[in-house]
Symmetry: D3
Subunit: 284 residues, 6 copies
Amino acid sequence: MSREPLLPLHPLQYDALLRRALEEDLGLAGDLTTNAVVPAIEELTGRIVARREGCIAGLEVAARVFALLDSNVRFNARAADGDVVAAGTTLADVAGPARAILTGERVALTLLGHLSGVATVTRGIVDAIAGTRARVVCTRKTTPGLRALEKYAVRAGGGSNHRFGLDDAVLIKDNHLAIAGSVEEAVRRARAAAGHLVKIEVEVDDLAQLERALACPIDAVLLDNMAPPVLRQAVELVAGRVITEASGGITPETARAIAETGVDLLSVGWITHSAPALDVALDV
Amino acid sequence: MSREPLLPLHPLQYDALLRRALEEDLGLAGDLTTNAVVPAIEELTGRIVARREGCIAGLEVAARVFALLDSNVRFNARAADGDVVAAGTTLADVAGPARAILTGERVALTLLGHLSGVATVTRGIVDAIAGTRARVVCTRKTTPGLRALEKYAVRAGGGSNHRFGLDDAVLIKDNHLAIAGSVEEAVRRARAAAGHLVKIEVEVDDLAQLERALACPIDAVLLDNMAPPVLRQAVELVAGRVITEASGGITPETARAIAETGVDLLSVGWITHSAPALDVALDV
Amino acid sequence: MSREPLLPLHPLQYDALLRRALEEDLGLAGDLTTNAVVPAIEELTGRIVARREGCIAGLEVAARVFALLDSNVRFNARAADGDVVAAGTTLADVAGPARAILTGERVALTLLGHLSGVATVTRGIVDAIAGTRARVVCTRKTTPGLRALEKYAVRAGGGSNHRFGLDDAVLIKDNHLAIAGSVEEAVRRARAAAGHLVKIEVEVDDLAQLERALACPIDAVLLDNMAPPVLRQAVELVAGRVITEASGGITPETARAIAETGVDLLSVGWITHSAPALDVALDV
Amino acid sequence: MSREPLLPLHPLQYDALLRRALEEDLGLAGDLTTNAVVPAIEELTGRIVARREGCIAGLEVAARVFALLDSNVRFNARAADGDVVAAGTTLADVAGPARAILTGERVALTLLGHLSGVATVTRGIVDAIAGTRARVVCTRKTTPGLRALEKYAVRAGGGSNHRFGLDDAVLIKDNHLAIAGSVEEAVRRARAAAGHLVKIEVEVDDLAQLERALACPIDAVLLDNMAPPVLRQAVELVAGRVITEASGGITPETARAIAETGVDLLSVGWITHSAPALDVALDV
Amino acid sequence: MSREPLLPLHPLQYDALLRRALEEDLGLAGDLTTNAVVPAIEELTGRIVARREGCIAGLEVAARVFALLDSNVRFNARAADGDVVAAGTTLADVAGPARAILTGERVALTLLGHLSGVATVTRGIVDAIAGTRARVVCTRKTTPGLRALEKYAVRAGGGSNHRFGLDDAVLIKDNHLAIAGSVEEAVRRARAAAGHLVKIEVEVDDLAQLERALACPIDAVLLDNMAPPVLRQAVELVAGRVITEASGGITPETARAIAETGVDLLSVGWITHSAPALDVALDV
Amino acid sequence: MSREPLLPLHPLQYDALLRRALEEDLGLAGDLTTNAVVPAIEELTGRIVARREGCIAGLEVAARVFALLDSNVRFNARAADGDVVAAGTTLADVAGPARAILTGERVALTLLGHLSGVATVTRGIVDAIAGTRARVVCTRKTTPGLRALEKYAVRAGGGSNHRFGLDDAVLIKDNHLAIAGSVEEAVRRARAAAGHLVKIEVEVDDLAQLERALACPIDAVLLDNMAPPVLRQAVELVAGRVITEASGGITPETARAIAETGVDLLSVGWITHSAPALDVALDV
């Protein structure tokens, strides 16, 4: 199966994070063990291996960790971000100065494991809804400082990205509605203030709210915590006029039933904030 | 039961992270929805609530997020970090300028949920081994940029902290041993180079390795992936001469059997890198 | 006439810039003149005055400059961002420690003058097209480091904001088309890679290109450097199916004829990169 | 005509600015269009062209933008900073990875256009006073964060640099005089506090003030807003004892008459804060 | 004796340094001792005392350290920067939250001790040459990151500041001369490139070089490593035409003889790079 | 004599400091002298020479300064950090672009001189106690921002490192004792709060305090300001149960008598905060 090309990140988007991670780990005294035990001239050859089956994300990030420590480290990827690999698969060969490899190992593996964890759980839901028209999207519930990377990992897992920040689009939630007094007034204010290239989405909890929202000039509705039968009614009510997004309680088990209601998007917060890391290791 | 006092963090240790998190979320255009829909003079009162039972960590961090946005936000904690609370418990009252509260909500809740997630899984293992002499410790497998916070969350969950970085102590692993040629030589190099206030720990995989390690001037052994019966033999072999640390495959289910072997420390990587977030929300 | 509410900025979005500006001006030796000539206890009262008619933007930014130097400076705005004021209008009263006011004067006035300059030229075009359905939008041609502020100034001048960055939307230009080989292929690639919440705009130079673009699933067209008669034909061709944006050679003199062709947007680069500063001064 | 060598900048003086500019433009999602439409292996060859006649500044800065994105971009300058070029002149050839070139194009051109704009208006005044003994100098009215670059652009345009910051020299203005009570007292305080390597300049509005200032131990006078006949009297009064600097209302049209009064310096604020950008483009 | 007012620093000029210093000391785990032993509500009152006689500099900097940790710390200075105090003198009372005071103590005292050390050795030379017309100036040999503070400490000690950086003035040294070929050519190049507000100083080793330098349009000469009799001849040769600066081997013992030769400036590198810290302590 | 390998620093641990140092020195105008007098194509060959006998530290740091300015500078060290060299020894050859070498000279030499100064005074005490079992350790009294480098210089001088920060270990001082009420209570609190991998040290002033401290579960005692006879009694009292550290009044003259009392550690604050720089120079 040919995959869609994956929108990449540029190192300028994560280099500062990697430097901070390495500084955090090196502290003021540096890698005591490696510096004491491993001579500076020692070379080393190893393989980064996935210990469990999973969907990979972060290989270039891992390579960059080593490059920041020593430009002589050679990192040859043998898999690509987005690949689903079996347990035991070699993801990359790493060779070069032993000190740089051993010092950078933890930061490189932690990021690769974390991002692959995000990609893997994303992939699980994407696969569960294969054949439906729905797409899996992540939310703003990302780890502080890692948003660009985690959004990328979601893409690697076959998902799409929802808002990258509060500045991306208007999303009117219950608290906003309460203050505005009505959905009409909230949408009116949003339309007046925001450029008309900005999309407006409204969160609704039931079909009555949905009807009121649909009477306003909006672009999308967030159907929050609705059971599949209600979702199906909602989709019918919308009738293709706006984008429909379901959220709440979406897991690999529940996803298919939700997707089959005909919604456009399944938005899932936990794929970024609660994905367990994929177990990856460096075998020398 | 009175708890040990919890070693706190100073805001200087996380303010830069919070600023980056807010900048990441605000982008160049800011919170479009709130700024468009909510007038600047609007005030708001809400409660931060735990939706699930869990162990809390990060209340001061959450308070600080709002303070960075607007010093007029009042945040009154009704629980303390380290508390185990039931689902539905109010953790804090938040009141003040509506814009600051709505704009900061996501960053504050994401951090509170993440840190409480770490504390909760830590607590689970700590409770599982109650009554034994062992302590639960975390590793260096922390999220880049969040190490100080995640280590703090482990303490809030009743755990202890192992190394904070590569600079904390010497930990000689298999790769180091391979390069040094022998455990004796590796320890000799470490002893010679490091100050004698620095502790040296050696990773061993079996009892034969353990015996050789114990013949060296070391302070601790990392007993990696040993089954409880072997661990028990290892503890007997050590006979209190050095600190014993078990690692590998430790879960709430397996922890007690491991702790009952008499080891001093159970080190668990997944409590920082794979803890699911605790579900916390802002109810207005 | 009641104005639309103006989407504000939060100080977190420009404080780092202001600090850099002050550090740039203070250098290592600080404000030699003020520190030498003005005693620390001296107080001062002054007014910030517009020397020319213009549209104001940046009053909170100017206030913040003084606040960063000394929290005892009182800054009372007597106009609001977005106001069009006559020459000689007092914009704000400033009172407090003389040193902070004199030291911060240049940075505060430079920013206020620059942002008001952007707002003023924006306002000029907005006024020129009053009564048409078109809106004035700015581009990514902003001063490095000042994008959030300049986009804000455009809003203060009655304009709207186009893309905030390369990450906002897809804008397929001639160079992209050349590489993709055809507009169909370029749009296909964009559609496949980007989430379906991302809008796609295509730049076209003539009506033939426009027809081909309209056959693709796009959201907007950038009609580049077309004379009003051609623009009018383009708008008819589009027939409301996508957003139409005219660009190239738009000045207060030419704007009305272009707006009257029926296009949705007039995008103007020079309002951010070539606006002369509004002359503002501090009178003591 | 051989030109004076131009004092260059070192990349350390602007790299942080360039990184911020690129991060501002890339956002969290990166260059959606280029990444979606242009394959990673695609190469591209283009020329940076001046669309209008002007004086060039910033070629090394533009080259550096591409280098920060990808060290494989080749940038061959075909003009030099300080050159006055005709419309249509090729300033540089750019070749290499298409993604880096298209992603960096906007930041590179914006800076090159802005700095060349500053150089061009500077050059206009410098040319207008050719043959007189006066020099054109810029002020501290520079864009926050770009002072080093804009001061450089002034030099490229044939101008000189006045104070780089508040720490450069003492410049006693009317507000300082008002607080000190008299020019004598103000100069006395400045002389006492500042090292005697620091130059002291006093702003005067009329000849009476000038006479009082000249009785003090000062190095320069700022003759503010004086008409040429008064300036001429001022220059005669000074009789070479101190440096004379004219400011206020200096344009290419008025400059010659002012310069011919015999003043040493024409200081012009608008060449840095209100210069329109020179139109430069990348032709592929 | 009334002192010249001391040019102060603004906290914006050193806050980043103080934050880095505190972060360096807190690490990821924070102040283990204080946090474990001292309850959060504990208050404390102490005095900062000079254990040795010396000239004080850095009291506001020390106060700022505590303020950054806790705005509730009260710091009442009982001496002023520039004061020469006897051993045992109380410099400031410090009262407030015990944790902040104990955690900040080391950073505050280290800076106060270091800056007072610089002020004290400066004072020693300034006193040694009292009554002569010479001034003591420091050089660019300052601790990386502390230049603004150390230059300030020199002023507190009664000295003056020479160049703050490579950008302050032209100082042509032997290496520059060697490349230029002759002093005439070096000065010509400097004059041509630099604005005529920039002063030019030339380093000379003997009277022959001095004569050649004096034939060029320069502002100052650096008389390097000349014995007092030669210096006296040099001063006579200069005859007031340019500023004379003696450097090399200047100590409290040798300073007077050098100053009595009539030179304007004694420049001393070691007062910033080799001054022993003044012993200051916090007594509770 | 073969030396222990020296634990190195990674450039990531000091690059930010070097950049700040260079930016501090370059200012906004850059190296006026070099840029004006030295053509860009000029090459230069020089030697870094120690003008006095001393122990060297910082050669890689100095090399890095030049590399940050221009990657074409070749730096060949002819000594190694930790070497004790005679006056006149060439430490390194430097060759390459003249501008980079002359511009970087001051920052490179200042750091090399400072760190070698620290190493030299450390070496002096280490040599004075040769043959005893004691080691020389430095304290937290380091220059803000330079702790990692100064701790490294102490190692180069043959010393060891004590705490790197407040987070390294518990050190209970008199102020902590006063608040806790007793040493027993202070140690109890520390033991309860800190992980049991954290060492606890208590400062004592006399033998009575020492006896009380030894009754607590501690790892080390700081014997503050005790005369050698008392120290000897203290060592006997301790009888090897905990690490003994002497502090106060330790100089090359007094060190041997103190070391011969049998203490494990001599901790000396002044070797980092009051070491005079070693005189190093660049000869072209």
